[in-house]
């Protein structure tokens, strides 16, 4: 007996009860909880407990109608307890989700904090150095020395713009030490030493900038690729009937039910999905496409591989007709080798019968 049948039985019994004894507060309470908004989630998430509760409640209504108050009370209590158990499990699951999200967000926050603390230390050092220099009284003949020191500090600041603190750490540390030494010499009135140390510091800073620049450019490109990948992922979500996932080197779009059983011709009513995919491929031209056909585990291995290959080829042919260059695409039939769900269930097998279109981003 499914939930719908039980619910109908309960409603019919409830209608019959309407002419007999009024319902007990426990019965009213059960009905309120069952018919609430959360009730739907309970039925969906915990069908066994919800079904047990409904069966008990149907029995309670029947006993109530027969005037057996004791039996009706027993079944109402059972119904309320089964429903309460399902509700508590639902709450536990919700809390687990909250915990998971909070932990993941906390990890991100701590990572951001660690990076921020490194920046803070750099700024503190710079401010402390500048503070010492700024407080020194300009003495006779010290102007050139001060200019030299300022020039060295400017070079350090420029090196920081290409993240030299991260990519050329030791050179930057040497430049910092030389600037510190120059500041000490300035305090001591040794202008010659200030100019010498400042020149050396400037040289180290320029070297650091040169060393860091290629790495900074490369990483900047990676940042751009990441940004583009996220955008592709968002756009892929608009393809009707498809599901998208982001991988390290690209985005995978999975489509189901493109073909009839045992057939390798794309269903006419699925052309729209492939057309949208072709538009996406044209929009993201830098990406190459790997089209993989997958089957469930029914049928022979060879047949599954050739069928999945024929289906992947059919997708490539369709995209090609829609203007995607064949040179960008590779078709592979993987048969039943890469299941994503349990082949023992009907739903699992349907999940496994799929076409995956992998957008592979250009190599850096």
């Amino acid at each position: 007996m499914n939930l719908r049948t039980i619910a109908i039985a309960a409603v019919l019994a409830s209608a019959a009860c309407a002419h007999a004894q009024p319902k007990t507060p426990d019965m009213v309470s059960y009905e309120e909880r069952r018919d609430s908004e959360a009730g739907e989630q309970i039925i969906e998430g915990y069908p066994d407990l919800a079904q047990a509760a409904q069966q008990h409640y149907a029995a309670a209504l029947s006993a109530h109608e027969d005037g057996d108050a004791e039996l009706a009370a027993h079944h109402t209590k059972m119904a309320n307890m089964s429903w309460g158990t399902a509700t508590a499990r639902h709450e536990a699951q919700e809390s687990a989700l909250v915990q998971q999200q909070a932990e993941s967000k906390r990890k991100e926050t701590l990572d951001a904090l660690a990076s921020l603390n490194t920046q803070l230390q750099v700024e503190r050092d710079a401010v402390s150095r500048l503070d010492r220099i700024a407080t020194l009284e300009a003495k006779e003949g010290s102007f050139k020395a001060r200019d030299d020191l300022a020039s060295a500090m400017l070079a350090i600041k420029e090196a920081e713009t290409v993240n030299a603190r991260e990519y050329a750490t030791s050179l930057m540390n040497e430049a910092d030490e030389l600037v510190d030494a120059a500041a000490v010499a300035l305090e001591a009135g040794d202008n010659a030493a200030v100019s010498k140390k400042s020149a050396a510091a400037k040289k180290k800073a320029l070297q650091a900038k040169s060393a860091a620049a290629p790495e900074y450019t490369k990483n900047g490109r990676q940042i751009e690729l990441d940004r583009k990948r996220r955008k592709l992922f968002a756009d892929a979500g608009d393809i009707r009937g498809g599901s998208a996932s982001m991988t390290e080197g690209g985005v995978t779009i999975t489509l189901h039910k493109l073909f009839g059983s045992g057939d390798a011709t794309v269903d006419t009513d699925k052309h729209g999905e492939l057309d949208a995919l072709a538009d996406l491929a044209s929009k993201y031209e830098g990406y190459t496409l790997v089209i993989e056909g997958h089957t469930d585990n029914r049928g022979g291995s060879n047949r599954n591989i050739s069928l999945s290959q024929a289906r992947a080829d059919a997708v490539v042919a369709h995209l090609s007709r829609k203007g995607v260059s064949p040179a960008r695409m590779t078709a592979t039939g993987r048969g039943a080798a890469s299941p994503v769900a349990n082949n023992k269930t009907k739903t699992g097998r349907a999940e496994n019968r799929r076409i995956e279109i992998i957008f592979v981003e250009p190599r850096s």
């Binding site: 209590k77 709450e91 536990a92 915990q99 904090l113 700024e123």
Partner: protein, 144 residues
């Protein structure tokens, strides 16, 4: 007369005997079920340090006593089974509520830790902003 007395005594003895047999749980299975429920109830009582399921513990205890009492006498309806069903349903409910309460506490603690980390982050961001501004003004002063 003696025979009648003896018959009465034997009949009385048989009656007492049957009562003493009936006074015990109907069978081993019932005893096992009662024992299991008793143990589970004790475990949940210990687990409920935070008084999350106090009412349910009271209900389950009362139903367990009912089940024990029904186990000792034969009745038309199977009250023993119903009482024990209520006990077991109540045990499942309490266990789920305690699990939910534990999960809620863990989630709350994770949320508190997140709030603390976010607070620290905000503080560091403000400090960085202040330092950046100070550095810019000092640089201006030094290179002037």
């Amino acid at each position: 007369m003696k025979t009648q007395l003896l018959t009465t005594v034997i009949a009385g003895g048989l009656l007492l005997g049957s009562l003493s047999v009936e006074a015990k749980p109907r069978n081993e299975q019932q005893r096992d079920e009662l024992n299991q429920a008793t143990v589970a109830l004790k475990e949940l009582t210990v687990r409920d340090a935070g008084n999350v399921v106090t009412t349910e513990l009271g209900n389950a205890e009362a139903w367990l006593k009912e089940a024990e009492s029904y186990a000792k006498k034969r009745r038309t309806r199977d009250e023993f089974r119903q009482a024990l069903d209520r006990v077991n349903a109540s045990l499942a409910l309490m266990s789920a509520r305690l699990d939910a309460s534990d999960a809620q506490a863990v989630a709350q603690s994770a949320s508190d830790e997140l709030a603390e980390a976010e607070g620290n982050l905000r503080q560091s961001q403000m400090e960085l902003q202040a330092l950046t501004e100070k550095r810019a003004s000092l640089e201006k002063a030094v290179t002037r």
